[in-house]
């Protein structure tokens, strides 16, 4: 099911006359702007022209009238007035806070000096696809600088550097995202297969530990992993490097390799993102593997398939839609991730490789010019938006396929779970324990810094040499900014959740219970935010809302209520939708028969029965609202002071370099994690096994 399916029935042979009309429609505004007409007037005039053209021809007028009356009939058949109001409210809201800003920023990207132009994309100087020095996009391998692994011998102590390459902004982004997707998918699928198909000692704990990386405090997570694994003076190097970089801890416990290993740049970004996003593939793949009809696998075995053939030709293909959905979601989130590049900015060899990524460039250039993105950054926003939307369209196709695959089975099966024998278990432990150790390193690092004394974890220390509660004491009792940040985050998230619940129930109700023209479109619009790069949405809000009562310069927090609502909407809609699907419509029909009105039925029958789903969905929206980074950082920046949220306050401390600020940022990160974990445990209690709501897919 794609967004376009609802229009599929109109596919007819296109009259060449209409091609000419469309060409004229595109060319007219371009020509008009060339003679000095402002772009929006030019576009408006062309549209009016088109309407006049359509109305003047009898044939098209009749066709339009027929089309309109058919749609209207369908609408009247499928909808009552309450549902109409619901659709209107949701549509208006999403138009104001999602569609219009995105369309507007895309429109701006094609306007140069009040004229419609492709100069930002294919012009002479600093256009992104044809700039002479190919800084934005390149197909020429000779533009590649650097190598993935190199050995620096210019110092007294040599360094093994694992970093990445610097090609061009779009190229770097794609390399990072593909790398992240590849690693996340391999990890996620392997883990899902092991967990769904084998029983072994300690599986229960491991299964829980595996999803912890889903909750990771922004910004500070990088500090911990740098100190433990990535930097020259990392705990890893201090423990295992023969040529210890530290003069005070010259003797490593067990020398494994000669020179310190430094992981930076692209490699660091890919590792950190993979350790975070593999959970998405893992969760999707787990449900995909669990849903495979065991009889299919049994038939294959009966026909003589060995284990390898079975996995290759039965299990994997059947699970593929689920895996692909997780992988594409990973790709989208990796492309739009701005937090990780901020941490690893200026690292690697060449040092500009992480700076040269789409999300980071857009982030940097929002602040340069007070709400006016640099013109090429505008074009980059459009590229980022198109990339993410393409992924979203593919993902919807695969979700459709997944539903089809599930139809072919039927009922719930006893999954095929084997007891792993001792050697297999040992193999699993050998894979799972190091993986978990690495995946939980960011959390460990944040905890060590949060409870470590200020300055207690220096370059030569394997771990903090002093533990204390002072950092928490400071942020909670001695510093106002944290209290404001917590208060702001809670208030904004709560207000957003109220809006999400109201609008989410509206949307889920009409999507689950009604059929009307444009339903697929509404479905697409309310699911889409999961794929919209927050940084682009934040930039677009700057363009659209400056000078309105929601002016972000005045108070970015007001606007955040709406950006949180839009961005975290899909979690709730999906959960409520699932609840409505499970709810037998007969219950509602009984109410109508007894004379209950539509709204009374909704209030007295439906809402109480799906309240658990609403609560669970709202809690997931809440968990992710608290940790929202990209629009917050776009609208607030890293110096919000008392007008910040928890994530931007973490970013602010992280970037202020005052005494203890790093530790305080981590302490705040720990508080955020605790808040999120409580909400998730609570949600899981309510949702039990319906974990799909977590990913919103």
């Amino acid at each position: 099911m794609t967004v376009f399916d609802s229009f599929g029935d109109q596919k007819k042979k296109i009259d060449p006359k209409w091609i000419a009309v469309i060409c004229a429609l595109v060319l007219t505004p371009v020509i008009l702007t060339l003679v000095g007409v402002p772009a929006y007037i030019a576009i408006g005039l062309s549209l009016i022209g088109l309407i006049i053209l359509l109305v003047s021809s009898n044939e098209t007028r009749d066709r339009m009238r027929m089309y309109a009356s058919r749609q209207w009939r369908e609408w009247k058949e499928g909808m009552d007035s309450m549902s109409t109001i619901f659709v209107l409210i949701v549509t208006i809201f999403f138009f104001i806070f999602l569609i219009f800003p995105l369309v507007y920023i895309s429109y701006e990207a094609f306007i140069v000096d009040d004229k419609i132009s492709f100069a930002r994309f294919f012009g002479e100087d600093y256009s992104i696809f044809t700039a002479p020095d190919r800084a934005y996009f390149s197909l020429d391998p000779s533009d590649i600088d650097g190598e993935f692994i190199s050995h620096d011998t210019t110092g007294t102590v040599g360094i093994w550097k694992i970093s990445g390459i610097d090609w061009a902004i779009i190229n770097n982004t794609i390399i990072i995202s593909l790398g992240t997707t590849l690693f996340s998918t391999i990890l996620g699928v392997l883990l899902a297969y092991i967990i769904t198909r084998y029983e072994f000692y300690g599986k229960g704990i491991i299964r829980h530990l595996l999803v912890i990386p889903l909750i990771i405090p922004p910004f500070v997570s990088g500090v911990g992993i740098k100190k433990i694994l990535f930097s020259e003076f990392s705990t890893l190097n201090l423990l295992f490097c023969a040529n210890s970089p530290s003069p005070t801890e010259a003797n490593p416990i067990f020398p494994l390799y000669s020179d310190p290993i430094v992981i930076s740049g692209m490699a660091a970004v890919i590792i950190v993102q993979s350790l975070h996003f593999y959970t998405l593939v893992y969760l999707n793949a787990t449900s995909a593997f669990a849903n495979i009809d065991p009889s299919l696998e049994e038939s294959a075995e009966n026909l003589g398939a060995n284990h390898r053939t079975l996995v290759r030709s039965i299990s994997l293909p059947l699970a593929l839609p689920g895996i692909a959905a997780g992988a594409i979601l990973t790709f989208i989130l990796s492309v739009e991730d701005v937090g990780t590049p901020i941490i690893f900015q200026g690292t690697g060899d060449p040092t500009t490789q992480v700076d040269n990524t789409l999300a980071y460039q857009i982030f940097r250039n929002i602040f340069d010019t007070q709400g006016n993105l640099a013109s090429w950054a505008l074009a980059l926003s459009v590229v980022l938006l198109v990339t993410a939307m393409t992924g979203f369209l593919i993902i919807r196709k695969y979700v459709g396929l997944k539903q089809y695959a599930m139809l072919s089975k039927g009922g719930i099966h006893n999954p095929r779970i084997k007891d792993a024998d001792v050697p297999t278990s040992i193999l699993f432990y050998a894979f799972l324990i190091p993986l978990l150790a690495i995946a939980l390193t960011p959390h460990l690092g944040v905890l060590l810094l949060a409870f470590g004394g200020v300055g207690a974890w220096g370059a030569a220390d394997k771990y903090p040499n002093e533990f204390t509660m002072d950092n928490f004491d400071y942020i909670l009792n001695k510093d106002e900014a944290t209290r404001f940040a917590i208060q702001n985050t809670l208030v904004i998230s709560l207000l957003a959740i109220i809006l999400i619940i109201i609008l989410g129930v509206f949307a889920a109700y009409v999507l689950a219970r009604k059929s009307f023209p444009g339903k697929m479109l509404l479905d697409a619009i309310v699911t889409m935010p999961i794929a919209i790069p927050g940084i682009v949405l934040g930039a677009a809000y700057f363009y659209v809302f400056i000078g309105t009562p929601l002016d972000p310069l005045d108070d970015p927090l007001r606007l955040l209520v709406f950006s949180f609502t839009v961005r975290r909407f899909p979690f709730t809609v999906r959960a409520v939708f699932a609840g409505l699907q499970q709810l037998n419509i007969a219950l509602e029909e009984v109410s109508w028969n007894l004379g209950g009105s539509q709204s009374k039925t909704l209030r007295a029958i439906v809402l109480p029965l799906i309240s658990l789903n609403i609560l669970a969905g709202a809690l997931m929206s809440f968990v992710y609202s608290m940790a929202e980074v990209s629009t917050s950082i776009a609208l607030i920046g890293t110096s919000g002071g008392n007008k910040s949220t928890i994530p931007t306050q973490i970013a602010e401390r992280f970037t202020e370099a005052l005494y203890g600020s790093e530790n305080y940022a981590c302490a705040l990160g720990v508080l955020l994690m605790i808040g999120q974990i409580i909400s998730i445990v609570f949600t899981n209690r309510i949702l039990k096994d319906r974990g799909a709501a977590i990913t919103g897919i």
């Binding site: 409210i89 020095d133 600088d145 007294t156 340069d368 005494y659």
Partner: protein
């Protein structure tokens, strides 16, 4: 009828919620503590525009409220931490009372725009007059180490310094040792090929992103003049990783990613206080003192209690007590009055005050540059963007050129004289100082112009760096080319090979050499992983048999 009413009221309530949200009635979100009930006459809330971080202004606000300077009644101070380019917008809005922190350049700019009010309040002028210090004298001379602490406009006092800052570099002694580098003592050292390492030894800031690093580049440009200044800055860029913020520079030093970072003094001192392997170095007679001003801004209200509160806050910031508050470990700002150290020393938490006072004295005795604010302001926009285009955006070709220069230097294919010429070639500015001044306004205001120039410079710089690299490859001369006479004092790199090789730090100790020779290599790692692979194969094979 009933149904319609219900529906209507339902949607009405909904729209009500949405409209109230949109119209911005979210008083809950306001940072000011909302006071219920009628306000007493002395109650006041002022807005302060600031470049300080929340840690600083929250700490000072707290100290102010508990001091005797705070007027009675319910008072509140709302700090608006905004980027420098947003300041005029906010002041024009008419609701800002004070501006605090951000450097003299920013305040001069506001003064020229007519955004500042003269300071005439007697409490403040008396306080200032009473400040006669060992290091500086009160107005109208009013300078600390040559840097003005006040600005007068037509005889009116427009802004006062509230703290001072100096500029230098923070070094990590562990990393210096690991990279085999001597501790630098002058700005130009950071550009010398001695400091080139494949993993950059130096971190500097991208000028548009950091005011402190911008000031450092301005110091270098004023000390050495436009052409030689850019030669040094470009060579520095070749040895450096460019960070997009001053904090990132400091963090890179603290975590040992680089050996040296260019920082403002309190960043360096924060690192010293945290880690004993970090040291803040003041370049020998090459620093300046910058004041961090406070001023009244023009505003549209005429509220006596607000004006009184603004006056009281400024008075506090300039007082002995307020100055001592700046010495808290979360702030570490150098005061404008040295009696603040004595006051702060009474506080047992501030055990580091004597160290700070020592640094204060060193700073004030170590300035060697008469800095011209007007000059730096005249080309600032151009300079920042030019630095960014030629060193940050073109960093990769620049690093490659620096590597080639370092190789030529280490192979002794070039000497001091050639190095100087190569540096002048590499850094040869693509525009003159006068041109930079002419285009300064357009660089600030005209986005299209700025982007065009930055793109042009980036491309031209890349070509220039590649050219230098290719000529270096064939360069074998060891003497100064004919026709060029070098004045030794004028060559900042002249002290080069000789003096660096004398530095005992630079020669690896015997212990280090033996450590390298006895390197274990990857044998253990290889042995361990082959064992693992063997085990895995065994297990898998066994499994298949089942």
């Amino acid at each position: 009828m009933i149904r319609i009413n219900q529906k209507a009221s339902f949607s009405f309530v909904l729209f009500g919620i949405m409209i109230s949200l949109i119209s911005g009635n979210l008083t809950l979100l306001s940072t000011t503590s909302v006071i219920a009930g009628e306000s007493a006459p002395a109650d006041a809330t002022i807005n302060v525009l600031t470049r300080h971080s929340s840690t600083i202004f929250n700490a000072v606000e707290l100290a102010f409220k508990s001091s005797s300077y705070a007027p009675s009644g319910t008072i509140d101070i709302v700090f608006k931490a905004r980027d420098a380019h947003q300041w005029p917008t906010y002041i024009d809005d008419g609701d800002i009372d004070l501006a605090w922190g951000g450097g003299p350049t920013l305040f001069d700019e506001q003064m020229e725009r007519g955004n500042l009010l003269p300071i005439t309040q007697s409490s403040i002028t008396t306080e200032i007059a009473s400040m006669n210090d060992t290091y500086w004298q009160g107005p109208p001379a009013g300078t600390i180490a040559g840097s003005p602490m006040y600005r007068y406009d037509n005889g009116d006092l427009m802004w006062v310094g509230s703290a001072i800052a100096s500029f230098g570099f923070t070094v990590n002694s562990f990393k210096l040792e690991a990279q085999g580098l001597p501790t630098p003592s002058k700005w130009e050292h950071l550009g010398h090929p001695i400091y080139y390492r494949d993993t950059p030894a130096v971190a500097i800031g991208n000028a548009p992103d950091t005011t402190s690093n911008t000031r450092i580049y301005e110091i270098i440009l004023q000390k050495y003049g436009w052409d030689l200044g850019w030669a040094i800055l470009t060579m520095m860029g070749g040895n450096s990783v460019i960070k997009t913020g001053s904090t990132e520079v400091l963090v890179a030093v603290e975590e040992g990613a680089v050996s040296i970072g260019t920082t403002i003094d309190f960043y360096g001192f924060e690192a010293e206080l945290k880690y004993d392997y970090c040291t803040y170095v003041l370049p020998d007679n090459q620093s300046i003192v910058n004041s961090d001003p406070i001023a009244f801004t023009t505003h549209s209200h005429n509220d006596a209690s607000r004006n009184e509160l603004a006056e009281a806050f400024m008075h506090f910031v300039l007082s002995d007590e307020g100055q001592a508050a700046l010495l808290a470990d979360s702030i570490l700002r150098m005061p404008i009055r040295s009696d603040a150290f004595a006051t702060a020393a009474q506080d047992s938490d501030k055990h580091y005050v004597s160290q700070l006072e020592d640094l204060y004295e060193r700073t004030l005795n170590n300035t060697g540059i008469s800095f011209n604010d007007t000059l730096s302001l005249s080309y600032q926009n151009t300079m920042r963007n030019y630095q960014s285009a030629t060193t940050y955006e073109a960093n990769t070709p620049l690093r490659q050129a620096a590597k080639a220069i370092a190789q030529a230097w280490n192979d002794e294919r070039i000497g001091d004289a050639q190095l100087f010429l190569i540096a002048m070639d590499l850094g040869n500015p693509l525009l003159t100082e006068a041109e930079a001044q002419t285009m300064n306004d357009d660089m600030g205001d005209d986005q299209t112009f700025r982007e065009g120039k930055v793109s042009e410079w980036r491309q031209a710089a890349t070509t220039k760096y590649d050219d230098v690299r290719s000529t270096l490859g064939s360069m074998t001369y060891n003497e100064a080319p004919e026709g060029i006479e070098l004045v030794p004092e004028y060559n900042p790199f002249a002290a080069g090979r000789g003096s660096y090789n004398d530095t005992s730090d630079f020669v690896p100790t015997t212990e280090e050499v033996s450590k390298q020779e006895g390197a274990v290599g990857f044998e253990n790692m290889a042995a361990l992983s082959s064992l693992g692979i063997l085990g895995a194969i065994l297990i898998l094979r066994r499994k298949r048999r089942f």
